[in-house]
Amino acid sequence: MAEAILRMTGIGKEFPGVRALDGVDFRLLPGEVHALMGENGAGKSTLIKVLTGVYSIDAGEIELAGAKVAFTGPLEAQKAGISTVYQEVNLCRNLSVAENVFIGREPRRFGRINWREMRRRAAELLTRLDLSIDVAKPLSTYSLAIQQMVAIARAIDIDARVLILDEPTSSLDAGEVAQLFRVMRRLKEQGIAILFVSHFLDQIYEIADRMTILRNGRLVGEYVTAELPQVELVGKMIGRELAELERLDERPPARTSDTLVEASALGGKVAPFSLTIREGEVVGLAGLLGSGRTEIARLLFGADHAATGTVRIGGEQVNLRTPRIAMSKGVAFCSENRREEGLVPELTVRENLILALQADRGWSRPVPRKKQDELVAKYIKALNIRPDNPEMLIRNLSGGNQQKVLLARWLILEPRLLILDEPTRGIDVGAKAEIQKLVVELSDGGMAVLFISAELEEVLRLSHKVAVLRDRRVVAELPNDDTLTTDVLMETIASGAAK
């Protein structure tokens, strides 16, 4: 076995109230794809941030190519050959693609930026990733997937010896993932060590050579991917038997309850559509990224204005001009965009949790502190939010736990219709199962749920019926009976019509 390019031993890191990493060992061989596995809050992100110098370590040491290193910032780590592409694209959307690739290290001539050279080299670099786009255009004109590729292009151009990809695939479609994997294999051949984090187990088994599993900030072990069956992997990640992961395989019987929401010819950023949602019914929205799923959710919540059509909620026609009006009718909306449309990062878990409730009551009727504490304790326990410290700033929580807090924010209001836009994206298996179970429980309790997810299996597992979208148009509405499979859904999406 080749000598490790990167070796971390006994890494420890503590945050106020949390031991994020405790004696973790980790090594990375040149020319391998190494998956870092663990639930949300297991310490994956912290380990990466420690490695890239974003955080300093409290214990342990890091060796790069045999030499001991201690980075004091991401720039230093980058110079040493460790490049990172984060989950959320960390680029400047208002700058051009070329500027983004070369920001901070622009090619210069006579002390001035050589724009022509910069564009040429950027285009060349992107061609290596099979991407031919106009590099002079602002990054924001391209899709999230292409932005991700640009971030990777930037990372590998900085003579990287170690490339860290933190959830690079969470917003890519299948074709784009394949493209990314081609690029990764090519980089691997060049001897670059790739650290790969993803919640998609299939992807891990397709690309990763070895993996390291973390749980609650501790090392579980290092494994060769081919020798570890998926079931065992999941068991090691969540540290318990798979009872809770039992697939909810029974098809939910169709609901015959009263109609709760009736949208007719509702349109705006999507073509006019009609949709009814019954009480206690889970309606899935299936479709590719950008097919109009989120737009439908926003229309029903009054976050966007409808250009046409009407909405009836509980038989009463409602003009959904603002989210407040939708809320007063019992509609809740959990956005897919946690960072920009959900979290208030400077506030605590408790404050984020009661925010919608407080907004509903207005400024003059505060939720009594005792009631706040009760509610917060109840939902932290019910949703298994970790760490269970309500006074912690929410930005210090891991993504999955942030998502649970945002869910709880709406559950407190006991809505009649809960709109969940990609509630399980970027979340580990355990939390995902918990959220799925919760959706089933809520709908059994009579709450209607509009469930949006890119994972068709998940949509199928939970929904009573599925509306299929393509190119911002509802192309089919299918009851979830025995004939409906992911293949049928995919075909419907591809052909743009129900069979």
Partner: protein, 343 residues
């Protein structure tokens, strides 16, 4: 409390300088049933600044800024003095109360205007309030007809220069406004909603917070505070000067807010921090006079001290200095500040 450690330390340092250089600085005596002394003076002359800074704190917490407070100070003083000067008896309490009411009403209206520009029309706060900052001086001059209006009204004099229960009346007003603000923001839920809007406006909207209404209320409150400060300033000198009343007070107020630990990016705010910040600025001004800095260099001196204060408060700066001093030692673990943590 920990957040207030730095401002508290700085105030203590400034007071220490006075203890060394100024005789009888800490002496407080009662003359004619009134409290006298340098410390009392700091509170008394600092009262308008504290008020303006309180309003500014809430505006900044919404990630806005209000540059027009100086102009509102001038307008409110001018309006009150104009009304009083037209009274048949300037000592009539009813007349003075009416004048005060009109002046404060005007201030609130101007603040609502600011709030509408920012929240409904969507102009950036710095530009929206810049309009009133410039136009407001003109408005104040229009009210005073370009003259300095002098009045002679005992009830009005009370606001800025009078005493009640041995205390300067201004201090009592400040205490009342502070208590009211603290109650509404911290006992009631307005503070949480303001911090939420300042921390993430879109998330707040999607959580059902009426951010427009909140912004308008906050700008109106800020203008009201400035209006009261304007009454104090004009009452103290029994005249209204549209040109110079409240000149540059917006900058001192913003500074007080920042020294008090409220971030200009919005979000978390600290009322007690702001009060401390305003007291630091006022103490500095007093100190400059009392230790005899030559008048032609006072502005420069003040700027220097303020720069040092701000640098000392910046965690990034402290970390840098700290790290450089520790360079010889193993540089690995300097975990005292999470300066580089941006998540």
């Amino acid at each position: 409390m920990k957040r207030l450690a730095w401002p508290l330390g700085m105030l203590a340092a400034l007071l220490l300088v006075n203890l060394i250089f100024t005789d009888h600085f800490f002496q407080i005596e009662i003359k004619d049933g009134h409290l006298y002394g340098s410390l009392i003076d700091i509170f008394r002359f600092g009262a308008p600044l504290i008020l303006v800074a309180l309003g500014m704190t809430l505006v900044i917490a919404t990630s806005g800024i209000d540059l027009s407070v100086g102009s509102v100070v001038a307008i409110s003083g001018a309006m009150a003095c104009l009304q009083i000067s037209s009274l048949t008896s300037q000592d009539s309490i009813g007349g003075v109360l009416g004048a005060v009411g009109i002046a404060l009403g005007l201030a609130i209206a101007l603040g609502v205007g600011n709030g509408v520009l920012v929240s409904v029309i969507g102009i950036q706060p710095i530009i929206a309030t810049l309009i009133l900052m410039v136009a407001g001086r003109g408005l104040a001059q229009l009210i005073t007809d370009g003259q300095i209006i002098t009045i002679n009204s005992d009830p009005y004099k009370l606001i800025g220069g009078g005493y009640w229960l041995t205390l300067p009346f201004g201090i009592i007003i400040v205490a009342a406004v502070l208590a009211l603000t603290a109650f509404i923001t911290r006992r009631l839920a307005l503070g949480l909603l303001i911090e939420s809007v300042g921390g993430n406006a879109e998330a707040s909207r999607l959580s059902g917070i009426r951010s427009r209404g909140i912004l308008i209320v906050v700008y109106a409150f800020c203008a009201l505070c400035a209006g009261i400060a304007g009454l104090m300033i004009s009452s103290n000198v029994s005249s209204a000067d549209g040109n110079n009343a409240g000149l540059w007070i917006e900058l001192d107020a913003i500074l007080a807010v920042v020294i008090g630990g409220t971030s200009l990016a919005g979000g978390r705010f600290s009322l007690s921090g702001t009060v401390l910040g305003a007291l630091i600025i006022q103490t500095l001004t007093t100190t400059i006079y009392s230790i005899g800095v030559p008048p032609e260099t006072t502005l420069l001196f003040k700027a220097l001290v303020v720069t040092i204060v701000c640098l000392l408060q910046s965690p990034a700066f402290r970390a840098k200095v700290f790290r450089q001093r520790r360079r010889p030692a193993p540089p690995a673990v300097a975990a005292d500040e999470k300066v580089t943590v941006r998540t």
